[in-house]
Symmetry: C2
Subunit: 645 residues, 2 copies
């Protein structure tokens, strides 16, 4: 069925972008049966398995916390490749190396580094990240845990005042961790100096919980049960002054506090810096899982026969338009998101120690957008593939359940995607404000023909405005980009106008933002994110093998147009496109799905999931797998009947 216009392994290298040796090393490591998915195992076994897998990765030297200094891309590449293998291992790893390790690296100083960095790499010391509290998952700056400095003993007393203040969801906490970085309100002589980080031991090397620490196992989750999550409390636990991570705030021996960052909010934000890379880690993990799931679903659709023109079961289901319309946009978006993600990794790595607020904000928005788009896409892809694989998708061994729940984990971890979208919209508006162009700023970005009606709209009653319509050929990438940009700018102007109108009505920002304009806020951020993805996808076409341009160009076009089709109601209601363009858009997407459907197998081969990592039976010879008593397992020793032959 497939007529590839590219060499899949070359495509894989291009999508993978960097750290090919590390990725190859992981793929080679994953040949070990230790990395074969297992299903009928206990919670204890599942957690142990995730740890053993992570240990093997560390033993092979395939990731180091110091990669953040020299090669941040490597951190993300490892996350993507491990995410293809097992979400639990990847989650334990991301807490150990990014949230815990990265925080110790960046916010700690020599003493912390000497104590911990080598042991983090070797997994001799396992850590966790104590930011979230039960009552303050969505408002961390209000957290209640305190670290009170005791001048008499030169110690901090770490304390949990109530169950609402217990550190909650703490990965690695329930069973494996030796240390936790506790974020707490620093109390100095009765004054709250804002949130700071403290390295607090919670277990000895024999994994006995230390006095004053209570660790409660959160038990079974809806997925990724290899991750041991805990609720952790501290009953006046004493740690030396040196426990404070003091790269930016220092407490001297005589109890003098000096902080680089003035405001309490600013101090908090600098502490939570690992959430930035953490979002890229989540994007990487879920992108890896998405590739594996889609690879399986496309392979199955290519081989599964169902009713054909004569009534016989002789037609691969991928031939059906229903299947193509469901799966091909997912393939396209996976490609487009991958190349946009590569760009964001580059931007993140180039940040270095920049203090330029605008550059930092740029990267912050990009990281939020990537985490949100890629984790939503992961859930959407796995859900759609599960449905389109029917009963086979319901077998654990085919791994789409892991994809669904892994997507969910990504959607609300490290910031609920919807909250990240609010953050994006807020920054986009704030930027416009800062440049003193407020609503007018938006106008500056609007293409000429649109300016007049928008001016009219902004000067008058928005609902009374007759918006200008874009007319053009949606198969023309330039026009598509124009639509994406106009959508974003118009929504930015519309939201600014709305907030101003609210102000005039005496409404507070909170009320308008949270109670009235939620759809507009989300719509703006979505428009920003999709515009960035298409811009980066088009830019990537300049850097690929010219022979790939026809295929990749159509793929990226489908990715962008699928986003527009999902948003078609608002686009037409707001008059950005005509109904005729709406019909053309649908027709074009149907054509693209059909054309690209013929290349589907080659396209997923470009994801580079090696055969030994295509564990799902539906990705291979599922008839052979079902010709013996497999007990739903993949490892021969866990199956009940020996394969015939």
């Amino acid at each position: 069925m497939s007529s590839p216009t590219f060499d899949p392994s070359a495509m894989q290298r291009w999508l993978d972008h960097d750290n090919h040796d590390t990725r190859d090393g992981l793929r080679a490591l994953f040949r070990d049966p230790l990395f074969t998915p297992r299903y009928n195992i206990s919670l204890d076994e599942e957690r142990d398995l995730a740890l053993r897998r992570l240990q093997a990765i560390c033993d092979a030297g395939l990731i180091s916390v110091t990669d953040f200094r020299h090669n941040p891309h490597r951190i993300f590449s490892v996350h993507e490749t491990v995410g293809m293998m097992d979400g639990s291992t990847a989650t334990k790893m991301t807490v150990q190396f990014n949230l815990f390790g990265g925080t110790v690296l960046k916010l700690g100083t020599q003493g912390h580094h000497d104590l911990l960095l080598d042991d983090i790499d070797s997994l001799a010391s396992i850590g966790c990240f104590g930011l979230t509290e039960l009552g303050f998952g969505n408002n961390a700056i209000e957290m209640q845990t305190t670290a009170t400095y005791d001048r008499d003993t030169d110690e901090f007393v770490v304390h949990t005042p109530s169950p609402m203040a217990r550190k909650y969801w703490i990965t690695n906490g329930a069973v494996h961790a030796h240390y936790v970085v506790v974020f707490a309100q620093l109390m100095l002589d009765g004054t709250n100096e804002g949130i700071h980080g403290f390295v607090v031991p919670i277990r000895d090397k024999a994994r006995n919980v230390l006095p004053g620490v209570t660790v409660w196992d959160m038990g079974v989750k809806i997925g990724v049960n290899g991750v041991d999550n805990a609720s952790i409390g501290f009953d006046h636990v004493r740690v030396p002054r040196s426990a404070m991570l003091d790269a930016t705030s220092k407490l001297s021996a005589d109890g003098e506090l000096t902080c680089e960052v003035r405001s309490r909010r600013g101090r908090f934000l600098s502490l939570a810096d690992q959430l930035l890379s953490g979002r890229l880690c989540i994007a990487a993990m879920t992108l890896g899982a998405t590739k594996v799931g889609l690879d399986s679903a496309i392979r199955y659709a290519s081989g599964r026969l169902a009713v054909g023109p004569t009534g016989k079961s002789d037609t691969p289901i991928l031939t059906y338009q229903l299947q193509q319309r469901a799966l091909m946009p997912l393939v396209a978006k996976t490609y487009a998101l991958n190349v946009a993600f590569n760009h964001v990794k580059d931007r993140y790595a180039a940040l270095g120690k920049t203090t330029d607020r605008e550059t930092y904000t740029d990267v912050l928005l990009l990281c939020c957008a990537m985490k949100a788009l890629i984790s939503w896409h992961a859930e959407d892809t796995a859900t759609t593939c599960r449905e389109r694989c029917g009963g086979q998708g319901f077998l654990a061994a085919n791994r789409l359940g892991e994809g669904i729940i892994g997507g969910h984990a990504g959607m609300t971890a490290e910031g609920d995607n919807r909250v990240l979208m609010q953050k994006i919209a807020k920054e986009l508006l704030a930027r416009a404000d800062k440049r003193q162009i407020a609503q007018e700023a938006a106008l500056a970005f609007v293409p000429g023909p649109l300016r007049r009606p928008l001016e009219a709209a902004l000067g008058g009653d928005a609902t009374a405005a007759v918006p200008a319509v874009l007319r053009g050929n949606l198969s023309d990438p330039d026009f598509v980009l124009q639509v994406l940009r106009a959508r974003e700018q118009r929504r930015l102007a519309g939201l600014a106008l709305r907030l101003n109108q609210g102000k005039k009505r005496g409404k507070g920002l909170f009320d308008v933002w949270m109670l009235e304009a939620s759809d507009q806020v989300q719509g703006l951020a979505q428009a920003y994110a999709e515009r960035v993805v298409y811009e980066q996808a088009r830019a990537a076409l300049q850097r690929c093998d010219p022979a790939w341009v026809p295929t990749l160009g159509r793929l990226f076009l489908l990715a962008a147009l699928d986003g527009l089709e999902r948003d078609l109601g608002p686009l037409l209601a707001d008059g950005l496109l005509t109904p005729k363009s709406g019909r053309e858009l649908q027709d074009l997407n149907r054509s693209l799905c059909r054309e690209l459907g013929a290349d589907a197998l080659a396209l997923v081969e470009g994801f580079g999931v090696p055969a030994h990592m295509q564990h799902a039976p539906i990705a291979g010879d599922w008839l052979a797998y079902n010709a013996f008593d497999n007990f739903g397992e993949l490892l021969p020793e866990l199956q009940r009947g020996a394969p015939a032959g």
Copy 2:
């Protein structure tokens, strides 16, 4: 926050519709800790638990296979109530009582009834339903299992010729079942007489698998792991002639076959009749699960505090427009689907032994529509609630994971929803043909003002037609119904036209239907289903307490308008509504979500989930639940720390 205009228990009675005593009996039974969800248990324990729960329901005499004769509503009521408790128990039950029991009841005769009916009710004999084969899940009529009559011994020889022909996904098969109804091609003197059903013992009373039968355990699934699914094969297994279910086809002692139904396809369809009630069973189960999940999510949103106007965590998240826009349409649709489902149950029960094809087809379409809409809604609801409950939604104990995966099970079991939608579209078209009005038939249903442009469209080139636009007030239920009807009729006409044009181009029906018009096929069926739901919801308003009409009217309106908003792109692209109506629709939905959001708690109280079945900690005092070492479990003996106080 809530100002209910109704008594929740009266609302519950109204929604529950029938068999209140049975429902009350089940709710009372579920106070037993046997019915408390458990999480950290093995696959064996989970299966055993589902069986013990089902046994307790049977012991209490709360369901009988003979309900199909006297009170079919009771079957569905039990499914809904058990679906609130545990999807695994409900699934085992539906196979025992509907697929297995119902088939024996309706297709069997006195001998089968004497042998099995009492034992089905008591669970002394457990059965399964052997329809699906590995290779023919989507084309059952092509199945390969044979039952060959042997004149010499007056027996049937049941045989599985290849792994592709193994009975697959067979619920109750892996561990518990004594019997399976095997569907097989009846071979009589070398002639294939079409598919018939045979009661074949597969285990003795001590649960040893019988000779010639191979049962392979399918192992772990992505959810509902209390269900033991099997792949079952037969190696020339002999059963007496009396094993054939012979209500409609009889084989005499001298080997003479007489069939009420002539065609092989007709015989197959009459055999698979339990799939009809099976779809209502699935709708009932997933509707029950949806109510529980939504109840939890709304209760949590009402109590979970997050950032408010001053930055403190003092504002219930349900106050946020984001939360209301996500959750309130789900509440509205649950109500609307519930009342539509009640109507369909009435229609099904009234069928009796009708042989009127048109009436039967009516009910068939309604059953397909209900199964599809309700199971999709179940998945959508659980997915949305999980996301909007953040981390708490990720804990197994909060049960939204079960909702997601339970929804998936419903979406592709007993017919992939998308295939059911195709079936609906096909019947709608066939009907139009039969009434000899083909395309013109559609026109007859179109309101006057639309007739002329549609005639033009149908007579000429569809894409060149300028469709007539509906103008009106979307807060007027009559206008909304007009839109829903016009959408359906226009899509019916459009699809008929498309098929005719295909014919003229020399395209086969298969090619147009499966390769070109998939979106139109799905869109027509969706339009039909949503129109039926709104019609039934409006009809239900005539039968409720008049004091409820303002609230229920707005709920049903929101349910309908949410469907239209999701379809807004096509509606505007096709010119059925104006862009201005599109904007009004969005505004109206925002208003309805805000207004109904204030009544959210009272509305979910109307679902009637009793406190002792609100197991999810987020449905109650989740702070108290998190004030001790709960280990993610709900039964005190499985928790690790005793609650304080």
